[in-house]
Amino acid sequence: MSFEPFVLSFELAGVTAFILFCIALPLAWYLSQTKSKCKPFIEALTALPIVLPPSVLGFYILWALSANSPIGAFFEDTFGVKLVFSFTGLVVASCFYSLPFMVQPLQNGFESLNKNMLEASYIAGKSKLQTIFFVALPNIKPALLTALIITFAHTVGEFGVVLMVGGSIPNETKVASVAIYEMVENMDYTAAHIYSGLMVGISFVVLLSVYIFNAKQAKRFAI
């Protein structure tokens, strides 16, 4: 029995979490600080992947990334990268799918910060970037960890979008959730049990460690 799909799942989740952190950090900061009238629109857009059926999201991503669309054609012509039915395509799809899970905890974290503390940093001559990295982020560690872990876990757990955008190419797009679906279809229940059991176990341990860490942080920062 091969555990290749698991490795692929974690690889995908790791890459997605990293890319999303880079995208979501400025976005979450902007949303937490802005008084602009655009804010609800951006917030609603960001939250869409939570409510949309994965098939809808998968369909649009497939449509946008395929070689027939300008985006897909551009990537194929310029970089020689095929975005559908490839690992790269899965990463792009996962970034859309998991975006709210990164943005929302970070935004909530930033919004919970004492505004005066950030202002004290500005008055001390520190730029926005310095303030984010040395004052804001270290003070929202639980939110930061929650964002990273939940994004990672949510990407490991995705199924519909990956199936539509990636298909099931071994070692390329066949992640754990898709592998389990195939096992059940092939009535290989033993393998399905092992895979599913592992999924439950890993997910539980990950979530448990997040909650334990956050409880400890809450105790440390309690006044």
Partner: protein, 284 residues
């Protein structure tokens, strides 16, 4: 010299209110900004710090901080700001809080020693008392050797003995670092002890500006004592009337004539004063 002439629309509890303030400050002055809550004190301080936008001009030592073209960001203004809620960097030790502002260990040591915090330098803010936190906050504000030190009700959350102690420290630091200091305060004794000048705000306008003696001492002419209080009760006792007046935390009884009692109503704010002590002669 600092020249301030600003205006801004405020959205308060009673609708919009224009804030207008124009005054000059000499270097080294210690100004107390006083007035009822909602009068625009904190906004004025935040406009000076560059934390809030406003129209008008702010000119500090011939340098423009604010006019119709420029608005210098808080990073570029040479100020220290002390917040009412301390606003310390919770993720840093006391020492790091100071060094983050300006990496000058010598100055940090000097400030922490002056305020008797040096032995606590490795502690985190959440393990300190309110008074200690506010001292850290004042030290932090002085780390950049600011020209102007702004304090937003720095002592209002502290108990009276801690207040007295910190008042002395603020005055010491103000003199030692040659700052121009502007402090929001409601406490007349605090203002009297610290400030060289009081600016009184009401509904967004400056209604009084002068030395603490001129603004705060409210006895006139030959009055020796004069207190403001609330009339709590008015009773007729035989041929006279007795009024109970609350002055701060203290309740006092006053004997009133019928004519005086007629003019008064329970709940009114009244002024209690004596013109001369009654002379008494006693024999040995």
């Amino acid at each position: 010299m600092i020249h301030i002439d600003i205006h801004k629309e405020l959205y308060g509890a009673n609708g919009t209110m224009p804030l207008r303030a124009a005054f000059n400050i000499q270097e080294g002055e210690f100004i107390a900004l006083s007035g009822k809550s909602g009068s625009g004190k904190t906004t004025l301080l935040r406009i000076l710090a560059g934390l809030e936008e406003a129209h008008g001009t702010i000119e500090v030592n011939k340098k423009i901080w604010l006019n119709s073209q420029t608005q210098l960001p808080p990073q570029k203004r040479d100020i220290g700001f002390v917040f009412q809620d301390y606003a310390l960097f919770e993720n840093m030790t006391i020492e790091k809080n100071l060094l983050f502002v300006n990496n000058d260990p010598e100055l940090a040591k000097e400030l922490l020693t002056l305020t008797q915090l040096y032995r606590l330098k490795k502690r985190y803010p959440n393990s300190l008392s309110g008074g200690q936190k506010q001292r850290v906050s004042i030290c932090r504000a002085l780390m950049q050797r600011p020209k102007i030190l702004l304090l937003d009700e720095p002592l209002s959350a502290l108990d009276p003995s801690m207040r007295t102690r910190l008042q002395k420290e603020i005055l010491t630091l103000h003199k030692k670092f040659h700052t121009t200091t502007i402090m929001i305060s409601h406490d007349p004794s605090e203002i009297y002890k610290l400030a060289t000048r009081v600016i009184l705000l009401e509904d967004g306008n400056i209604i009084d500006d002068g030395t603490p003696k001129e603004v705060l001492l409210q006895t006139q002419g030959s009055q020796k004592f004069s207190f403001e209080g609330e009339l709590l009760a008015l009773e007729k006792v035989d041929v006279i009337y007795v009024g109970v007046v609350a002055i701060g935390q203290q309740l006092v009884e006053v004997v009133l004539s019928k004519q005086e009692a007629k003019k008064l109503q329970v709940g009114q704010t009244v002024r209690l004063s004596t013109k001369a002590f009654h002379p008494t002669i006693t024999t040995k």
